[in-house]
Symmetry: C2
Subunit: 143 residues, 2 copies
């Protein structure tokens, strides 16, 4: 199995609401099929919004769930001010601040991060981590 | 918020076991901090394995969870035979086949996909989807 990923699919309760939230962050949908699915082109992979029930059905699992999903997504930025700016933007777009930004220590690097939840509770960390600098294309690479 | 992602973090019950599973897929860890965290470089972003309890604590949420996480990851490949090969590889590495590969129809494209779960239940779809061809670097782009 090659060491890469193609899509992340977020199960959502209300596709139109979820789309509005991500568009409220300034994102542009690259493709959408009616009220079935919405795709956003990210850096080399695709984020897809898809009804939770359909996603569970597609995977052949029961839809019932509660509590922590056990998975988080992270959006790294170039400085601390951008952490605050993105968290504010997420809140204005209808997200929920789960953890306000605070200092963080990662392997000797002093950073700054907070978390927001999208309307379906999917957790995004917004982080400035000098140990994981972004390249010119916005990609993150282990040094 | 720029339209990109930096990391995906999978909460795991047993870091060593989870690492062995992904290494069993042929992946190579790019960085690891003792028994705290393991990073794999993917295409422009990082997959991180991190103890579930620590991840919940970091996000400031309770760790309790059950059922479907409501999020899936997908690994697209170049043909149907590779779907079968990757699912077999995942099973040999200690994964669980959640949905055996079968024909799929996506927006007029006829494809083939199945799902496996890693040792912590994180769901990966392995898919051949001619509507989402891979580029030379293994990236997936909306046409």
């Amino acid at each position: 199995m090659e060491q890469r990923i193609s899509l992340i699919t977020l199960g959502v309760a209300d596709l139109a609401q979820a789309r509005r939230f991500y568009e409220g962050l300034g994102w542009q949908a690259g493709m959408a099929v009616g009220d079935e699915v919405v795709f956003f082109q990210l850096n080399g992979l695709i984020l897809s919004l898809y009804p939770l029930t359909a996603l569970a059905h597609d995977a052949g699992v029961t839809e019932t769930s509660s509590g922590f999903a056990g998975i988080t997504l992270a959006h790294n930025v170039r400085d601390e001010a951008e952490v605050d700016a993105v968290l504010s933007e997420a809140e204005r777009a209808g997200g929920r601040i789960v953890k306000p930004a605070s200092r963080a220590e990662w392997g000797g690097y002093s950073g700054y991060s907070g978390y927001f939840a999208d309307p379906d509770g999917h957790l995004w960390e917004v982080a400035y981590n000098p140990g994981f600098p972004l390249d010119a294309e916005g990609n993150t690479r282990l040094s």
